[in-house]
Amino acid sequence: MKIQMKLNLLILVFCFWFLVSPIKAQHFSSPSYFIDWGNFNITSGRKSSTNYQLTDTVGQNAPGVSEKNGIRVKSGFQYIYDTFTGLSFTIDKLNIDFGTLTPGVGVTDTNLLTVTTPSGHGYQITAQQNHPLWISPSLFIPNTACDLNDCTASFSTPWITTNKYGFGFNVTGIGATAYFSDSTYFRPFADLSDNQSPVIIASENVPVKNREATVNYRVLISSLQAAGDYENYITYTLVPKY
């Protein structure tokens, strides 16, 4: 029995010494601490010149992109930069004050929307008003129908005349060209009080960094418009393209 045990022990020792391959990891030690690393990153970072950009990892075991069965592994510190960028949405101001309105004179104001999206994602911005500009539901400035009474919350047409009253908006910027042909094209906001869903006012299919879209509000009233404080609010929603 003892011989059997000794033999087993001998086989174990043999296996340990000769069959187990050594792990080539990094080992650091001091009187108080041991640090064992699977790999030793010498340097990593982001470098650039006029024409080139480089992100690198030196010392990483098996760096690079590996993919199998739809699962992608990005091994190496340089891939961390992809995760740094979140979805960012900026609005320059939240209060739009048209001041005192004069009948027949269009008054404008602007909002600057700025978007940054992470790698691989475009964006869409939708807008919706809670209700028309109103003092009360019976005292309101109508949503614009534009010059030919043909624009809707999802269709822009020119609005330049001074005898078509209402409240509307236009958006300028790279992401808005599909929705507003130029700065004379306007449309009313999608109206929550009329059960209208938010409508896309700017979108792009590619990732963007600090992409700006300028919302140009316009309000034009007739001389019959009752005096008072007309209010509403617009909700802007930013989501990435999936």
Binding site: G70, L94, N232, T235
Partner: protein, 285 residues
């Protein structure tokens, strides 16, 4: 500083959720605005609106997945304040109580609310959302079933000095969302002439995405062959590497030096008409 500046990370997550499984995701929301923001969280379902990744929201009063926040001080839908420069981690939890095999496309929203109730009637507001693509299944790996549809090469007349654009859509005929994983290869005389990886868009079930290519900076670019193109016959293959089988779509086209031939013909015609009257004048003399 802007009145509203919010950053939400990550912008999208994609998961497979087994029956009775719970998934937890930490979202990081950062307020870079000039003032404190009053915010709230919510989840809305969406459907794909087109082939470019646009989404349309709808109401689902009885969602089959259950959502909650695991934060000790916050529930889903509860208002919270975020000071300028402050970051907050929102630990979002999804529970799949059903055994149904299906896909759920959702957005986790952070919604701004009026901080001052007096401003509530006229202060513009903002929402920012992160997409959740959830496949509920008892399997760990889901079979992808992507196919090429609406393939075309532009322009129709393929000249050596006209860039050739490869257009098309990739349709997901499967029951679950899938990533595009593949490449376009163009062969000439049996040798690889041009190869580009396809951009790995997520394609939702029974929906399609436009074909785009991926450059070396991991950016989306059109799939386009640069000029000049050598005249002759070309063969092309779009390969989609499914997790079970590989799908290949083959096509071919012919490049002809139309512009050179037309230019030479016009030159000859010009010379012909220039020389012809002189000959007739000289013959009269």
């Amino acid at each position: 500083m802007p009145a509203f500046n919010l950053i939400l990370k990550p912008a999208q997550i994609e998961i497979i959720l087994k029956p009775n499984a719970i998934f937890t995701q930490a979202y990081e929301v950062t307020n870079n605005s000039s003032g404190t923001l009053l915010l709230s969280t919510s989840v809305s379902p969406w459907i794909p609106a087109d082939n470019t990744g646009t989404v349309t929201y709808f109401d689902d009063p009885n969602p089959s997945l259950k959502f909650s926040l695991s934060n000790a001080d916050l529930k889903l839908g509860q208002d919270f304040l975020l000071n300028p420069g402050q970051k907050k981690q929102l630990v979002f939890k999804i529970n799949n109580p059903s055994t149904e095999e299906s896909d759920h496309y959702l957005t986790f929203f952070i919604t701004q609310k009026p901080l001052n109730s007096a401003l509530g009637g006229h202060q513009n507001l903002a929402k920012i959302g992160s997409h959740l693509l959830v496949s509920t299944s008892s399997k760990s790996t889901l079979t992808s079933n992507l196919r090429i549809s609406k393939f075309s090469l532009n322009p129709i007349i393929k000249d050596i000095f006209t860039p050739l654009k490869i257009n098309g859509e990739i349709f997901n005929n499967g029951n679950h969302y899938s990533h595009i994983d593949g490449q376009i290869t163009i062969y000439k005389n049996g040798q690889t002439y041009w190869q580009q990886n396809l951009f790995p868009y997520t394609t939702t079930s029974q929906n399609s995405r436009l074909i785009h290519c991926l450059n070396f900076q991991d950016e989306v670019i059109p799939c386009q062959l640069k000029i000049p193109l050598w005249p002759g016959s070309y063969q092309g293959t779009i390969t989609l590497n499914g997790n079970v089988s590989k799908y290949e779509y083959s096509f071919q086209f012919f490049i002809f030096p139309y512009s050179i031939i037309i230019s030479i013909s016009l030159l000859f015609l010009l010379l012909f008409f220039l020389l012809k009257p002189k000959q007739s004048i000289s013959s009269r003399r």
